[in-house]
Symmetry: C2
Amino acid sequence: MPTAAEREAQAKAAIEAAKAPPVEDFKPSSLNQKGKDFPAVNSERRIRARVVAPDAHSVALDIGAVKYPLTKGEDGAWVGASIPQDAGFHYYQIVVDGAQVPDPNSLYFYGASRWGSGVEVPATDQDFYALKNVPHGQLRETPFYSKRSDAVLRCFVYTPPDYEKNPAKRYPVLYLQHGGGEDETGWGSQGKTGLIMDNLIAAGKTKPFIIVMASSYVPGAQMGPPRPPAPAAQPGAATRPAGAGGMPRFNFSAFERVLLDELIPFVDANFRTQADQLHRAMAGLSMGGMQTKQITLANLDKFSHIGIFSGGSIASSDITDIDGFKKSVKLVFVSYGSRERGATGKTNVEALQQAGVKSVFYESPDTAHEWLSWRRSLYQFAPLLFQE
Amino acid sequence: MPTAAEREAQAKAAIEAAKAPPVEDFKPSSLNQKGKDFPAVNSERRIRARVVAPDAHSVALDIGAVKYPLTKGEDGAWVGASIPQDAGFHYYQIVVDGAQVPDPNSLYFYGASRWGSGVEVPATDQDFYALKNVPHGQLRETPFYSKRSDAVLRCFVYTPPDYEKNPAKRYPVLYLQHGGGEDETGWGSQGKTGLIMDNLIAAGKTKPFIIVMASSYVPGAQMGPPRPPAPAAQPGAATRPAGAGGMPRFNFSAFERVLLDELIPFVDANFRTQADQLHRAMAGLSMGGMQTKQITLANLDKFSHIGIFSGGSIASSDITDIDGFKKSVKLVFVSYGSRERGATGKTNVEALQQAGVKSVFYESPDTAHEWLSWRRSLYQFAPLLFQE
């Protein structure tokens, strides 16, 4: 992890590099509000923002941990561009005289513990999450009562395109978790889960299944530090006590209980699921991956397929009964962006393979701890599910 | 309609009145982001905003057509309060040195042609849209292909709580339209349609039915002026040519074709509907009410129940064949907020009653052209539907 001084130096270098005139082939981001031409992205993957702030003294585009100063034009609009960004989705914000605010031009997404701006940089493989004229599933906003929280919570449930047509057909279920500072909207919105699944199903590449996306922030329960550090590739990191290796201990038990005692029974009672271990998977990104690891390992009678995206991995030492594990678990899938530290994850996957566990490692090219890594991970993971 | 000078005078008076110290019993708005204490509402229904903008020279709370200047505190946060607002939902924004931006503290809603802040003032009757532990329906984000637009569009479909349980049961359908500058998210979000219906159904006050919420802004089609003026209570206003009476002509025909030729067939093919005129209703607010009037009157073989919320009314002179109308139409419902000009609507409803048409007029107390008027309208309208 870079130090504060290193980050500051990187930011200064980025601001300097951003002074180079960009190639003038900007196109509006696909995540802009109707009729808005900015932010825009060029062929260098640089982002240009434009913000009307006639009386401001300073306006910045805050993206990728760099605050790029914008320049005021005669029309009162401030304009400027970043250095090249990775392909895919990026959270960002605008800073107007010290006020950190959403860009009025973009759509909004929940991440970094707030609703804020998002910008999309085209990717060479973006076709797999494109909006196409294929049969579409439905993303259902589904309230459910949690006795533990004494509150009505909300999850989003993706049902595949043929769900309405076959009233007798039952489906496997994937429980798919967001990352730290995100919520139940993340996978459906930033993650483009519905589009990814619709396209995979239309191409016959995956078995249709239901996806349940809930928030792991259970009301009234303290999970751990509000900003989980980027997970290093340390197996079992979530369970080490603070101080030993420096990783704070997360307590996912409140969500584990809501998931197992309330959400899964609710889903099985209200959707046509195949309600058994063989047909139930869990996956998650970042903190959601850590939760997936912790919860599945403690409940192998409930989950048969495990996906950990940028959230650690399962080491042989995490498994107490390898024979039981091999019987129960049909898949362990571990993924990272290429710019993350996936080496230990890869090693752990190979060790599981050698132990006879079906285990897959995937590395997303040229991406970091960001949503394109996770869209691609879902795209790779889904076709492997429920094959037995 | 007030003149520009009148509006400016009203704004000045409001800013002056807002200098009076508020009662210090502020509570956070129920539409704030997680963990945010502002904006907050007190027992006088005044709204207090707090925005961190350390280097700004001026920050304002822009609500109800008044820009209230906020005052900077020593902590760099700007604070201030409005005069009392009506009960219910209000769009608003923050202005930081001339930059019109969403408040980083609130949730966001699509209205006034942009995603922006919303604040909720408690209402004495708010129980009917409260989130309760009753059986809940699902709000389904549903893509559908429009050949006319050559695009995949999106609608939201509310299915009632027992929809999943009764695979043989079929349901009537209400097509429910948003207002100008809004979209397909309005009724489900600002309108709290799901909660209103869940509560009515739990109380046995309405027949369960499906609600389809689509955007009437068809891609590529020009509907009319981007900012429809507040509809005066003029019957048939939507069809008068510009110049005659001053009301610009709206052209809803593109949406009419998408609705009739594409959306209704899609809904009937993909949901368990009772796909006939007797079991199909249409309603809308403001511009959506104008569209409802225009489209239903031209297609009485398709719709049997009509709801126009703050969007005009049906005069006897709008009906060419009164006997046919009385046979086809089971309900004409017209509503206004008490602060709007509903007199002509009321008169028109009475005339229809005298002609033997089942017609209902509803006035929402102490509300203007705003969402509480329309939540209440839906709450009054729903129990009257599909009674035959």
